[in-house]
Amino acid sequence: MKKVNGKYDVIHCHDWLTMKAGVQLKEKLGVPLVVSVHSTEYDRSGWIYPNQWFIDIEKEGMEKADIIIAVSNFTKRILVEKYNIPEEKIHVVHNAVYRLGRGEKQDIVLFLGRLTIQKGPEFFLKAAKKILDHSDIKPTFVVAGKGEMLSRLINQSVDLGISQHIMFTGLLTEEEVEHIYRIARVYVMPSVSEPFGITALEAISAGTPVVVSKTAGVAEALTNCLRVDFWDVDEMANKIISLLKYDVLHSTISDEGEKECDLFTWDGVADETMQVYRGVI
């Protein structure tokens, strides 16, 4: 701390890891503090036993901040309701995407993300079971990513009797991720609590329609998607099958969604962030 020199207009920090440092710098330098919230402890824990230690750090950072940037209205509500932050202090700036472009679609239904409670991979497997039981369509369900739930998920797919249709890829490289987005026919994001969910934008930017949880920020921002409750695996299966079965549905969401991606640019995010800075300096 002693080594901080120079003149700064604003301190901007992101999530709990950096908040204590941000608060101390603000106090030392007397400069406004902007805090971006990309996720809260409630999201990361899937609302099951959130750790009070993290919550306290987050709360302190948010209280000391002059203004807060939340990645969605969904997150803004959590900050208001769980952290008691005044609404007018929170500015929503949605995330953006670099467009990927389409590939040759294959019969793949994709889950991609950390294999944790928050991301809801077990609901993906339950929906897969419904689809495989009730329809003649037998796609491959790809679970891409790693995480603490991996072995449990493998066991679950064996117990459900669908393991031959499920492919666990482990962690993919950036190139592999882009490739799988491009060739998947449907992307599913069944998150229990997702502040934004850039993966959904990445998928649709590759022409892959997305079925997203209503408890995800992207669900409020993206018009051309199918929304479901993460626990409603019947409806999730209904929507996935419909995308596989009705070509016109797939092509319309895919075309309209790809167009809509133009609205989500990082330049736009930068502009909005600058606006927020101007409001405090």
């Binding site: 199918l226 209904n238 929507k239 419909s242 009705y246 549905l249």
Partner: protein, 396 residues
């Protein structure tokens, strides 16, 4: 003389139940497709906010003005069925209105369908006859003027309607068909002598869309102001066509819409050169001043004033095609229940919910839709059509 021809579309669709792909092939009765609970709830709400109070007000106004205040209605078959089932006093009040002699009824397809756009117009004709006999039975009225679903019109429909014996047909006074010409005259169709009444969309939308828009230069709209606007219009006839739900439902009571309506007749009649006519009187009194040629269908919907509201994307066109293709098979089966369900599925609203049109119109669409998105609307409707196609096999 400039006549004001006030006409209201009165319609409620039969909204569909949630129907997933897992339900396909398991339906016991085709009437299970319809969400009776939701439909009843909405109907009661609109009846109390709009139908009952507006009917009463208009009846009073006709009496007060010694029947010089005249209006016309187009009541869809599905609307009438709702009344019969849930709020029969609405039918009684329409009977009272018709009984004044100052109210005329307009013909249309019973199911408010897009059958006028089918390749084969037999189904269209049958639905018009159904509507015709419904009006005859209930109100003892035989309309002379026809208004197709959402004012959808093209040369082929006009020809068909003329052949069926109607003297007039209503459509939108769209710029693209009128060009420099005014909607405030009667026109005729291109291949025959049916008279065409054209909606004055500026004045109609002042009430229908803009009445409660606070950012609009005309706000607040008073009956006095509005009547003076009409009085400045040149021409024989000002056609004001709008959803009946404009009164009390699209614009709530607290916007002052009923007060506006209450004072409208006296303010119009204060202008000596103005009066009110029903659609029947309009076609009897005025001669055509020109011809309108409409090779591609127009309507009163959205900014485009065409049929893209119902058939603008591939999902809508796929459903429309499925629906149309089911026809010959259902008619062969001679199963009354199936035929009726198929017809209720033809109500244009089901396709309207699937529209993905741009932001401005999209906002209007989502206001009227009970689906989360047009995609949900498509999945639900298409699943039902697939089930219908499978022939309603009994549960295994």
């Amino acid at each position: 003389m400039t006549s004001v021809c006030f006409y209201f579309e009165v319609h409620q669709p039969m909204r569909l139940n949630r129907f997933s792909v897992f339900n396909i092939g398991k339906t016991e009765s085709p009437f299970d497709y319809f969400d009776n609970q939701l439909n009843e709830k909405i109907f009661h709400k609109v009846a109390n906010k709009c139908y009952l109070p507006t009917n009463k007000l208009l009846l009073d106004l006709i009496d007060q003005h010694d029947k010089k205040f005249r209006i016309s209605y187009s009541l869809t078959g599905t609307f009438i069925e709702y009344c019969q089932k849930h709020v029969p006093e609405i039918i009684d009040s329409f009977k009272d209105l018709v009984g004044t002699g100052a109210v005329d009824l307009i013909e249309e397809t019973y199911f408010h369908s897009l059958s006028g756009l089918y390749t084969d117009l037999t189904e269209f004709e049958e639905q018009v006859y159904l509507h015709n006999s419904m009006l005859k039975d209930l109100f003892h009225v035989t309309p002379k003027v026809f208004r197709n679903t959402e004012a959808i019109y093209d040369n082929r429909i006009a020809k068909k309607v003329a052949d069926m014996g109607y003297k007039g047909i209503i459509t939108e006074g769209a710029k693209k068909i009128l060009d420099w010409r005014s909607p405030n005259y009667v026109y005729k169709a291109v291949d025959n002598d049916i008279k065409v009444l054209l909606r004055n969309y500026m004045l109609s939308d002042d009430i229908g869309f803009r009445f409660s828009a606070q950012g609009w230069t005309g706000f607040p709209l008073t009956a006095d102001k509005y009547s003076s606007w009409m009085a400045q219009n040149q021409g024989d006839l000002i056609n004001l066509f709008m959803d009946y739900e404009t009164f009390g439902e699209h614009h709530w009571q607290d916007t002052g819409i009923f007060e506006f309506l209450k004072h409208l007749p006296e303010n119009v009649l204060n202008h000596e050169h103005m009066d009110f006519v029903t659609v029947r009187q309009a076609v009897e009194r005025y001669e055509p001043r020109g011809t309108i040629d409409v090779p591609w269908a127009i309507s009163w919907a959205d900014e485009d004033r065409d049929v893209s509201t119902w058939l603008g994307n591939d999902m809508q066109r796929a459903c429309f095609q499925e629906l149309q293709d089911l026809g010959p098979q259902i008619k062969k089966e001679k199963n009354q229940k199936k035929l009726e369900a198929w017809r209720k599925l033809q109500t244009s609203d089901h396709l309207y919910y699937i529209s993905t049109k741009g932001f401005e119109d999209g906002a209007v669409h989502s206001y009227f839709s009970h689906y989360d998105s047009p995609y949900d609307g498509f999945i639900n409707y298409m699943n039902i059509l697939q089930d219908f196609k499978q022939g309603m096999k009994p549960k295994p």
